[in-house]
């Protein structure tokens, strides 16, 4: 099968869904680009990461809307358009910019349906580039998904590869609830086998990336590929793992984690967001409450430290949990567990 990048996979999903459903619109800063520029060229950007490239020439200015740098207005307009019957896909550019539009996300979109007694839907998708690894500094590199995962009414998607990204994006646009879709910047160029045409991946179903017997590894977003690297190395030492990619953090497929733990008894959670009130902490809490009996060792949460994302290459490398840190954590956990038993 053809291999395409996650950038192209999401782009393809947007093309397919805009062609299928005239209610789908795309709006955000530079989603096309070039409006008002001196060259006269439109589609000059196609999004700062090129994810929305080619949409404007195909679907026109009514449906592919370049906006000013006004995040509250972008997300607010997406909300209003959704209440009025459209299915907007709003690009926030960087997930860090949730900071300038959070009211529209958690006071408005998340609560309309409940506050209005179930009499409306708010089918928006907010696309946001996430994650560290590109030396973009503290305000363009965060993993903010825990903040929205904790808000009832929102759904949260964090794809780890091109195939999932396309199927999850099609599901997200067709979903009647507000969805925050986190796209890891470092994954945009990474290719995987992606079928042409439409397919959807349901929310709330974890992907069992690989099966093993000694440990259950839950990894989120970019951490999935790092975990795979670590597990490749550990396989030579006879250590194998169930590697679970939750794919959606809300809803979260916690049952699959419990089932895996019945076999392995050991849980390592790898999360790129800081440790306090993180998705890792949430999963650890759920497991402690619901599958404590299956645990043979303390849960390991592998996260960055409780710091902002640093800038310098060396510091950022030290910040992100990499394959070697994951290997080391798994080795240490299993060694201590064996020693204790």
């Amino acid at each position: 099968m053809r291999q395409i990048s996650m950038r192209d996979a999401i782009n393809e999903a947007l093309h397919l869904e805009m062609a299928r459903d005239p209610r789908v619109i795309v709006l955000g800063e530079d989603v096309s680009g070039g409006a008002g520029g001196t060259s006269g060229q439109r589609d000059a950007a196609g999004g700062v990461f090129g994810v929305t490239k080619g949409l404007l020439p195909k679907f026109g200015e009514d449906r592919v809307i370049d906006t000013p740098i006004s995040e509250s207005a972008i997300i607010g307009a997406a909300n209003g358009a959704a209440l009025a019957g459209l299915r907007p896909v709003a690009e926030l550019m960087f997930a860090d910019f949730l900071g300038v539009c959070f009211d529209q996300v958690f006071n408005q979109a998340a609560k309309f349906r409940y506050m209005f007694g179930g009499k409306t839907t708010c089918p928006i998708v907010i696309r946001a580039a996430t994650g560290a690894g590109m030396n973009m500094g503290a305000q363009h590199s965060q993993s903010m998904y825990a903040m929205v995962t904790g808000v009832p009414g929102l759904k949260v998607v964090v794809p780890s590869n091109a195939y999932d990204a396309k199927g999850l994006m099609l599901t997200a646009i067709r979903d009647d609830d507000p969805v925050i879709f986190f796209e890891h910047k470092a994954l945009y160029p990474r290719k995987s086998a992606v079928p042409e045409g439409e397919y959807t991946i349901p929310f709330g179903e974890a992907n069992l990336v690989r099966e093993g017997e000694h440990v259950t590894v839950v990894a989120i977003g970019r951490m999935v590929s790092f975990a795979e690297k670590a597990l490749d190395t550990l396989a030579a030492e006879g250590i194998t793992a169930d590697l679970l990619d939750p794919r959606t953090l809300s809803p979260l497929d916690d049952e699959t984690i419990y089932e895996s733990l019945e076999n392995t008894g050991h849980l390592v959670i790898i999360d790129e967001s800081p440790p306090r009130c993180s998705v890792a902490a949430d999963i650890a809490g759920l497991v402690a409450s619901n599958a404590f009996h299956a645990l043979k060792a303390p849960i390991v949460q592998l996260t960055p430290p409780h710091t902002p994302v640093p800038f310098a290459r060396e510091l950022e490398r030290a910040y992100v949990p990499g394959p070697q840190a994951i290997e080391a954590a798994i080795r240490k956990m299993l060694k201590e567990s064996r020693a204790a038993s």
Partner: protein, 322 residues
């Protein structure tokens, strides 16, 4: 030139309904039966009605924390609203929204909004939907002088100008942002002037005069419906009660409300005008008063007797599917 009789009668009925709804709530809130806190619209009726009489169910409005008047003017069911404010199961939002979150999409009512400045960006989105549908519909963003100082409102106004979205920003300048005077908090003192700075036409009118609001809105809507982009209406008005019920209004001169009730009562001004012009008979208006009082009485009685939501309702309507 006179407006059609049925329009005049309906406009009066709407304004009177809002007034009685609010004056009665002011009384009923003292009983402790109504949960939470409430912001009353008394005094501003001519603005909501003068604007909404131009709108159909296919036009949208985004409202504010002081939203009862907008809801009634846009056609929301009065008893359903009262039930909602009492937190009853059969309220317009099943008792899950309350006074500050009444909405009805079937009436083009995008919701009251407890966040000052929350509504205008949403109205722009509804305006974008109108623009795409090309049926000449519009969205109206209601806000107060307080919202005129929110950055989200500036973002919404600029975006509407950039996209030529059919949105009318209606600022009800009632003189107070909560407990602080607009003369202090609105730096330039000129909200319409700010709107012009964004590149849209803006008009100021007497918000106590239904006819002034209605006529000014007609003018602004003409260009918006024809694809000319957004416009702003600043209506100078007053509120007869505090920011919220229970507000002792220490920031207002002792006689201010009494004076405003005497000089700026939009219902009295309307009655005097239609009598002077010979457009409507006093007996017709008195008959409407009676019907409105009966409707409010019935709504209060129904709300008192109604059942609250059940515990199971807590868990529904969070998601469409999860």
């Amino acid at each position: 030139m006179s407006l059609p009789r049925d329009l005049l009668l309906r406009a009066y009925r709407q304004m009177k309904t809002i007034r009685e709804f609010e004056e009665r709530l002011h009384v009923e809130i003292q009983t402790g039966e109504i949960p939470g806190f409430t912001h009353l619209y008394s005094g501003q009726e001519a603005v909501a009605v003068g604007v909404c009489e131009h709108l159909s169910n296919q036009d949208w409005i985004a409202s504010t924390h002081r939203g009862h008047g907008h809801c009634i003017a846009k056609g929301c069911d009065v008893q359903g609203m009262m039930l909602e404010i009492y937190g009853r199961r059969d309220g317009l939002c099943k008792g899950k929204g309350g006074s500050m979150h009444i909405a009805d999409m079937t009436k083009g009512m995008l919701g009251a909004n407890a966040i000052v400045g929350g509504g205008p960006p949403i109205a722009v989105g509804a305006g974008i939907a109108c623009k795409i549908a090309k049926r000449g519909n519009v969205a109206v963003a209601f806000g107060g002088d307080g919202s005129a100082n929110q950055g989200t409102v500036f973002e919404a106004m600029n975006l509407a100008v950039v996209l030529k979205a059919p949105v009318i920003f209606v600022f009800e300048n009632n003189g107070y942002s909560e407990h602080t005077g607009a003369s202090y908090a609105v730096g330039s003192g000129d909200i319409a002037g700010r709107a012009r700075g964004f590149g849209m036409p803006a008009e100021t009118c007497d918000g106590s005069d239904f006819f002034a609001v209605y006529d000014t809105m007609a003018k602004l809507l003409k260009t918006a419906r024809a694809g000319g982009g957004p416009a702003t209406l600043e209506a100078k008005t007053t509120r007869f009660f505090g920011h919220f019920e229970g507000d002792p209004m220490l920031y207002r001169a002792k006689d201010e409300v009494a004076r405003h009730r005497e000089q700026m009562d939009c219902l009295r001004i309307f009655r005097e005008r239609v009598a002077k012009e010979g457009w409507l008979q006093t007996t017709e208006l008195d008959a409407i008063d009676g019907e409105v009082m009966a409707l409010i009485e019935k709504s209060i009685a129904a709300s008192r007797a109604a059942v609250p939501p059940s515990a199971a309702d807590l868990l529904t309507d969070v998601y469409v599917s999860y």
